[in-house]
Amino acid sequence: MAPDSPRERLEKLAAQARERALGLKAELERRRGLPAGPGDLFVLPATAGLPVEWAVLERAADGKLLVVPADAGPPAGTADVEVPADAPGGPLSLRCRFGTWLDGALFEPGRRSGVLAPETVAEALRRFRQVESGTLAGSPLAEEVDAEPEYVDWIREVPERARELALAARPSNVRRFPSRSWGMPHKLAAAFALVSVGLSVWVGQLQRKVDRLSEPIFNPPSETVPLGEDTRGDISLAVPRTALHVQLVLSLDSSIDAQEGYLEIVDRFDKAVWQSDRVWLAPDHDYPLTLPRDRLPYGIYLVRVLPAAGFGSPPLAEERLLIEVAE
């Protein structure tokens, strides 16, 4: 039998790659909507500038995840676990020296990018523990990799930097604004516009309030409100009495078709607390919203997604939100 021409062989390889990609797609589809767990690979917006994924090794009771950066860059050194090309997720190097615990909320199901074999996870956990305990013993070839300047540079510039960025990220920080949604200047403008409503009466009091609101908004109470997917019970957000702002991340499910529309929050009397401008509703996108704390007194609210027909039309999705006192 005549051997394949190089072009035919290449096309067969490409076909294999496509098959693998479809297999992965099916695997990811099976895990769709499931929370992040050991063996999952994710990408994070906080590290989008670097060629890394994050491999989940362990989930703690408090929801935090033990993760390590993973990349397809230089081969594995002593502190890394190599995932061969024919293994699930491979070829990849898990940089276990840079393992860290991150907030599980950073890992959104829509950003799951692959799956590792259980034995790979076990080996990475073992390597991570060895790094932690100082008992790491590498193979001779891995030690050769450690000594390569190219590897040294890569480790400094990619996984080390990735860990710094991931540690600095918070669920609210990593949510991205779609191009047509509100930006931070708009949100601040909205906050200040709100404050100015009673300015003529409460000049002195509001001046102090404006001063407070002019301060940078750091670490406000935050919660994700999934819209368009089934949730069990109310979404609740515990807000300390001293908080000046709250942040909500309105997260559109993939079941909502992309279209123009509106977002809205109403109180239990169906009175609008906040309404968006007309925005582009993109499935699997998040819409961060920062509001002055006093716009959302403790109580029950409804968060709605509305079609372009406008407010008052049947909502595309609706979710109950409970604002409660943080003890």
């Binding site: 190089p6 390889l13 790659a17 990609a21 860059g73 001779p140 030690e143």
Partner: protein, 424 residues
């Protein structure tokens, strides 16, 4: 063995595509900007590839690869340094054969490395990025780096050791980077001593003799010391760098220094490698059987590369726990690194290219007076009369590792094994 792309049948279609685009240059630029990204998306969709888009991808990848080869100073080197055999240059002199060039052959390898093996990783980045073309360029660099390491181990090792030594001198304030496109030490990096005054290029003629003197002192460790022990030879080379100033060379390009150094090491190595090709292993006194350690270059098949890597590692690990004295272990380690380079060097693909043929038993005894053994002993700083037993020990270890890796025997017996090379 590389894939050789047959683009000839599509040439006419490609030309048509290009000519149709020339009337809309602004559209072409926009389309070309995301050609790699579009290809990854197309592969991920599972749909059949559009031949026009595939050709556009191919053209763009070819240009990017050629550019990176030039940037790394590989364009003027033999393609065999990257595992492409049978061509003296990347592009054939005759245009009739341009579709069978070494460049097209490595292009196919590069395509496979990036778009087949790493497709999942690329698709992952598409979840959070609109355009991943930059990642493709990064992967081209990784691809060439790995190829060079695999097929030009001497050049790679000399480059890395000298690069580390220069970086050390920069960190210590003796050398400084005068001009470079990046902040890293690369071929085109211009370096100078703190009080440097002359122009790069001056004294280049003297560099060849200077680095030859360095190599007299640094070899074989320059090539055979790896891993943790590589630092020793880096430090020794770093201490030699002030010799440049004493020779009146205050400013130089990194390439001006590394190229003659590589050439000198390659020449010395070649002198023993050529003669050692297929040479029988010298027989230890009292031994009845003989083995043959042959030049055996791993080809580019992933599986075979992996077996090669495992064998190298297995023997290195076995050496660490071998029941022998430190001096003998040092000799064995040096000789094994020599054999490793020997088996990796750029040889014709038609030669015995399978690692499972590295050991060939039952050959005739060699002539122990062969000049290559004297050269080998001189170059590796190993007493000549030790070589037969050392070879025999390595042959035994290699055989056991080979059996262990292929699943034919257990590896547990390797640790603490006594050796033919046990005397000091």
């Amino acid at each position: 063995m590389g894939l050789r792309l047959d683009l000839w049948s599509n040439r006419r279609r490609l030309d048509l595509r290009l000519s149709s685009r020339t009337s809309h240059p602004e559209k072409t630029a926009a389309e070309e900007a995301g050609v790699f990204t579009a290809h990854v998306r197309a592969l991920g969709s599972g749909a059949p590839l559009d031949s026009r888009e595939f050709e556009a991808l191919w053209t763009a990848l070819r240009a990017a690869l050629r550019s990176e080869l030039k940037r790394r100073g590989l364009w003027d080197s033999p393609p065999s340094y990257l595992g492409i055999f049978g061509s003296g240059s990347w592009e054939p002199a005759s245009p009739e054969n341009r579709h069978e060039s070494a460049l097209d052959e490595i292009l196919a390898e590069c395509y496979s490395y990036i778009f087949v093996s790493r497709l999942r990783s690329l698709q992952a980045q598409l979840i959070i990025k609109q355009n991943i073309d930059g990642l493709i360029f990064l992967n081209i660099r990784h691809f060439l780096h790995e190829r060079q390491k695999q097929h030009d181990p001497i050049g790679f090792q000399v480059f890395e050791v000298l690069q580390s030594a220069v970086r050390l001198a920069i960190d210590e304030g003796e050398l400084r980077v005068l001009a470079a496109g990046e902040d890293k030490v690369r071929n085109d990096t211009v370096l100078g001593f703190a009080d440097g005054m002359d122009l790069p290029g001056q004294g280049r003629a003297e560099l060849a003799s200077l680095v030859a003197r360095w190599n007299d002192e640094l070899l074989p460790d320059l090539v055979t010391l790896r891993g943790r022990r590589q630092e020793e030879v880096v430090q020794r080379l770093r201490e030699r760098l002030p010799d440049l100033r004493e020779e009146g060379i205050y400013t130089f390009r990194f390439k001006d220094l590394v190229d003659p150094m590589k050439a000198d090491v390659r020449a010395r190595w070649a002198a023993i490698l050529d003669l050692a090709q297929g040479e029988a292993v010298p027989q230890a006194a009292g031994e009845g059987a003989r083995n043959l350690v042959r030049l055996a270059g791993p080809d580019t098949e992933v599986e075979e590369r992996e077996v090669f890597r495992k064998l190298i590692e297995c023997v290195l690990i076995s050496l660490e726990s071998l029941g022998t004295d430190e001096r003998t272990r040092g000799y064995l380690s040096t000789l094994w690194q020599f054999v490793r380079v020997q088996a990796s060097e750029g040889i014709e693909a038609e030669a015995a290219s399978r690692l499972d043929r590295a050991l060939v038993a039952g050959v005739e005894a060699p002539d122990e007076e062969r000049p290559s053994l004297r050269k080998l002993a001189e170059q590796l700083h190993i007493p000549r009369d030790r070589l037969p037993a050392l070879y025999q020990t390595l042959g035994d270890l290699l055989e056991r590792c080979q059996a262990a890796i292929s699943g034919k025997a257990a590896v547990t017996s390797l640790k603490g094994k006594s050796t033919h090379a046990g005397r000091t």
